[in-house]
């Protein structure tokens, strides 16, 4: 029984992975062979990026503050509290900035993409697009893919800065580290590579969130219940992929 279930889940996983890759291929082919729908893309950039700013702000600020406190708690054992800024800066730019931003956006935007396209699918609006000689991939997927790709990049830069600011507040006003020392150490410790590895991940996560949301939206069947299922699947799949890809790219950047 469990073996059959395992087999069925494995088949689903292979089927969905293949479907996501094929949709990404179609979207990239369309992106590079047809003109971009600028109006729609800018609208998606607003939805994915601008409207996510408050949530990313809060997440990054509190994460930076907690990181600062936890680092100081450990470093105090070695009388090395001045290294708090190093830890916050490196953790935010290399890891927490891109990953937490991606998770917040996956929950907020990935779900909304899947729900919107899923509703269009069950109400035959996708069929209507085709009937009106319009490619749904060009009309719906490409603007979201481009918007996700670029907006995650900018949101991650924003999250990195806000996270470090949160760490700064705790370090300077609570732990007694001097403002000048904190800023100087943060700038000195950060290498271009650290920032770039984080931002490279952001591009990948943005692509993943958009394409997974679109894929599960297109796969929706069976009315409101189906839309709910697709939304959940889109968020779960995006979160798992973000964590797995983060692990993969962290290892890749570590060794090369």
């Amino acid at each position: 029984m469990w073996l059959a279930r395992l087999g069925s889940h494995s088949m689903d996983l292979a089927y969905n992975t293949g479907g996501i890759v094929l949709l990404l291929r179609d979207a990239l082919t369309t992106l590079f062979t047809t003109p971009l729908r600028w109006h729609s893309t800018l609208d998606q950039m607003n939805r994915i990026g601008v409207t996510s700013l408050p949530l990313v702000f809060l997440t990054a600020l509190f994460t930076g503050m907690v990181l600062s406190l936890q680092s100081a708690y450990q470093l105090r054992l070695f009388a090395a509290e001045q290294f708090t800024s190093d830890l916050v800066a490196l953790s935010m730019t290399r890891e927490l900035g891109p990953v937490l931003t991606a998770m917040v956006v996956a929950g907020r935007v990935g779900a909304s993409i899947a729900a919107e396209i899923g509703t269009m699918k069950v109400t035959e609006q996708i069929d209507a697009l085709r009937a009106l000689a319009t490619d749904p991939v060009r009309y719906l997927v490409v603007p979201r893919l481009v918007a996700g790709f670029f907006m995650l990049f900018f949101l991650t830069i924003y999250a990195d800065c806000i996270g470090m600011l949160g760490g700064y507040f705790v370090a300077v006003f609570k732990l007694g580290i001097s403002s000048h020392q904190y800023i100087k150490r943060s700038i000195d410790i950060l290498m271009i590579k650290d920032v770039m590895t984080g931002l490279a991940k952001a591009f990948i996560f943005g692509t993943v969130i958009s394409i997974v949301g679109c894929y599960f939206g297109f796969r929706t069947e069976g009315g409101a219940e189906g839309v709910g299922r697709s939304t959940t699947l889109a968020v779960v799949a995006a979160l798992i992929l973000i964590i797995a890809l983060d692990c993969f790219f962290t290892a890749l950047f570590y060794f090369f």
Binding site: M120, T123, D127, A128, A131, L132, A133, D135
Partner: protein
């Protein structure tokens, strides 16, 4: 003319269309009747080219649509218009943008010309002054009318209607029937309607065909269908719960 030969379509174990053959003459008003879930809408979507058959060919005015590339198929679809069962209006666009969708997307007409054309098409379906309304603010009957205006925006040669009267009250349903008749007469198009609403079928068809077990089992004028001896068609049109369909 639309020629359908040996059409097959399955969804998993459910073999919906089984070697279906059908010819629809230019200018004809054909209504396809059949039980819910028998594959009527699937057939319509395959004629429109938005669903691929597993086997068989659909030829429209001498062009086998399965031989067209996706871009050629998109261009070809502009010759057809389709009214969907739930109207399928785009939620995020207002009535003007919905009706003028293919004109905005596929022509280089100036916006003011498109606005004029949209008003003309809305006028044809008896709707005026609702250009800027959103679909969520429309009643079921209005949505169908806007859907029909969108379907005829490109002046298609063939119009496909998927259950045009489903979900409407009898008066509104009759209004839609009148509208379909008027479209047929005014625009001189070929129309293909799928429905299980017999009152509507008798009113708008000049030929009725019945789809059963994945095939067209008979066709004729509304009068011939009304007086048929075919046991399956007889049971369907009389709405009897006993007979070959339910045995």
């Amino acid at each position: 003319m639309i020629q359908i030969k040996g059409l097959h379509k399955s969804f998993g174990a459910n073999h919906v269309l089984r070697s279906l053959d059908l010819e629809i003459q230019t200018g004809e008003a054909l209504v396809i009747i059949g039980r819910s879930g028998c594959g009527k809408s699937v057939l319509l979507k395959q004629i429109m080219g938005i669903m691929e058959p597993d086997e068989g060919t659909i030829t429209i005015d001498g062009v086998d649509i399965s031989s067209l590339s996706p871009r050629e198929l998109d261009q070809f679809r502009l010759k057809l218009g389709m009214l969907f069962q739930g109207a399928a209006l785009f939620d995020s666009l207002n009535v003007r943008e919905n009706v003028g969708f293919s004109l905005y997307e596929h022509t280089s007409l100036p916006p003011e010309v498109i606005v004029e054309k949209v008003r003309e098409k809305l006028g044809l379906v008896g709707l005026e002054g609702i250009d800027e309304m959103m679909p969520s603010a429309l009643s079921g009957g209005m949505k169908k009318r806007v859907g029909l205006a969108r379907a005829i925006a490109n002046d298609p040669k063939i119009i496909l209607y998927d259950e045009p009267t489903t979900g409407l009250d009898p008066i509104m349903a009759d209004g839609i029937n009148e509208l379909i008749l008027r479209m047929h007469e005014k625009l001189r198009v070929t129309s293909v309607t799928v429905t299980h609403d017999l009152k509507s079928a008798y009113k708008i068809a000049n030929r009725i065909a019945m789809l059963y077990n994945g095939k067209i089992i008979g066709s004729g004028t509304p009068k011939e269908i009304e007086n048929t001896d075919h046991p399956v068609i007889r049971q369907f049109i009389t709405g009897s719960s006993t007979g070959p369909i339910t045995e």
